[in-house]
């Protein structure tokens, strides 16, 4: 295994990221139910069901998985300590799982007080996490491209959350604002291109060669892409603040995203091993969707379609695929470590591939692929497509829960066997 640059002894217990991963599909389920119950509302970005679903997916699902993954990855990738992980991860987990549905309910019922409580809870989850993660990362000497990208992503995420709090204050009439749509667009651009885009790209620099033995992304791209995205986001914000047309910055962001997706697809085609792996297909679909969304943005496509493709294509499909690799891998590694601490081969640990059945990932991928065109049609205001999208999202969430819970049950039962055997010997 290519573990260069990794500090595996720093890896936290698997329960830390798992609590985030297991809770995430619940928010996808809630979003699916909301869409299925309000299928005609997808035609407007301002409809309560759309605002609620977008925040459930973006915060409850996507951000939850990203924070869970960072709790696992940061100590391993950078060797930094995030303190007592079991304790430090509890507040973000609780606050995010309370805050995201609370925000969803606030949007849905037009209850801005509930929205403010939800937003405060999300901020309570996210801001302390950003501080405990970002400061040790900033102190680290000679950072890798991945670490540098994660720094940028966390810094932009801080802005996204502050912007979100500002927008909640505007909706509650606590602050005045004459350009609400412009501010919402900036909030969404920062979240999608900055938080999601920068993080997904930086992590793929490290995980793609690690998991699929593909070789590296070109060094000029690893060196320049993160800083380019950050600079373009700053340029876009400046142009917006000066009330100038930000399309030059938006178009350059689209081109950078297109370049990343092409390089990503090319790299995945260079796998040393050619056997079909569903995770590779998830990543390829994700990269292709990003390419299509960026192309649409470049040629003046509907902003809502671009955002939906980016959110589902990169924010849902990519983490879904990655978790299909990560959950069995972390579970297997922890079981092996637990077993090896006993000093002998007591139990044959099930192989990583046996944690998840062979068919479910492919069915989940098919459902997610169907969801993309279905949502694109539903955004034009077609109720049947809206209903179909909601049902697809519900099916995806339920299948994901079944997969994750199944893998976790296998982990727990094997771990119990490992723990019980020495007790019997005593």
């Amino acid at each position: 295994m290519n573990t260069s640059g990794l500090s595996l002894e720093q890896a936290p217990p698997v329960e830390v990221p798992l609590r985030f991963f297991l809770a995430a599909p619940l928010h996808l389920l809630l979003a699916g139910i909301l869409i299925a119950l309000n299928p005609g509302e997808l035609g407007s970005r301002w409809s309560p069901a759309v605002l609620a679903s977008v925040h459930l997916v973006a915060l409850g699902f996507m951000t939850q998985i990203m924070i869970g993954s960072l709790f696992q990855l940061l100590p391993v990738l950078s060797g930094i300590s995030l303190g007592r992980l079991e304790r430090n991860s509890l507040l973000p987990w609780l606050s995010l799982n309370l805050g995201a549905p609370c925000m969803g309910a606030g949007f849905l019922f037009g209850n801005f007080s509930l929205l403010a409580v939800g937003a405060a809870s999300v901020a309570l989850a996210v801001l302390p996490f950003i501080f405990i993660a970002l400061f040790p990362l900033l102190k680290r000497d000679a950072p890798t491209f991945t670490i540098r990208g994660i720094r940028f992503a966390l810094a932009v995420f801080f802005l996204v959350v502050c912007y979100g709090l500002f927008l909640v204050a505007v909706l509650n009439n606590w602050l005045p604002s004459e350009r609400l749509t412009t501010h919402v667009d900036t909030h969404a651009t920062l979240a999608l291109a900055g938080w999601l885009g920068l993080l997904a790209m930086s992590i793929s620099f490290q995980l793609t060669p690690l998991f699929f033995i593909t070789g590296e992304f070109p060094s000029w791209f690893r060196q320049g892409a993160g800083i380019a995205i950050l600079a373009l986001l700053c340029l876009r914000m400046t142009l917006v603040l000066l009330e100038l047309d930000p399309s030059i910055a938006t178009n350059l962001l689209s081109l950078t995203a297109m370049l990343f997706s092409l390089l990503f697809i090319r790299l995945l085609r260079k796998r040393a091993r050619k056997t079909p792996d569903p995770v590779v297909f998830y990543w390829q679909v994700s990269a292709l969707t990003l390419f299509i969304a960026s192309l649409l943005l470049l040629f003046g496509g509907q902003g809502e379609t671009v955002a939906a493709l980016a959110l589902i294509g990169v924010g849902v499909i990519m983490p879904c695929g990655t978790l299909l690799k990560i959950i069995p891998f972390l579970s297997w590694l922890q079981l092996q470590n637990n077993q090896s601490k006993l000093g002998r081969f007591v139990i044959r640990i099930p192989h990583m591939n046996s944690f998840i059945d062979a068919t479910s990932p492919w069915i989940l991928l098919a459902l997610l692929i169907l969801l993309l065109p279905s949502l694109a049609v539903a955004l034009r205001g077609y109720s049947y497509a809206g209903l179909f999208s909601g049902l697809l999202l519900i099916a995806c969430a339920l299948l994901q829960m079944r997969i994750f819970i199944g893998a976790h049950t296998k982990f727990r039962s094997t771990n119990r066997k490992i723990i019980e055997i020495p007790l019997k010997a005593d």
Binding site: M1, T3, S4, L8, F212, I213, A272, S340, K341
Partner: protein, 82 residues
């Protein structure tokens, strides 16, 4: 007797799985030669815990070779001891 496995083209954690499977099946007196493309760092801690010694040397077919043997056994030929 020497047992050889080539894990250089496998994706993680298959190299580790194959190595641990092979160790579990090793008869007394055997040692394992692993052909790999990178140093499998997570393996080393496990080997230490389970009472194995190892030696990582430059490979002939792949970039590195790892020789693994039980600590109560003598080091196999070619092993570099530190």
């Amino acid at each position: 007797m020497e047992r050889i496995i080539d894990v250089s083209k496998l994706e993680p954690p298959e190299p580790l799985e194959r190595i641990l499977d092979s160790l579990a099946e090793m008869a007394p007196g055997d040692w394992l030669k692993v052909l790999h493309h990178r140093e499998p760092y997570p393996l080393y801690g496990m080997l230490r815990n389970m009472g194995y010694c190892w030696s990582t040397i430059p490979g002939e077919v792949t970039s590195i070779e790892i020789l693994i043997w039980p600590e109560e056994q003598e080091a196999p030929p070619g092993a570099e001891l530190f």
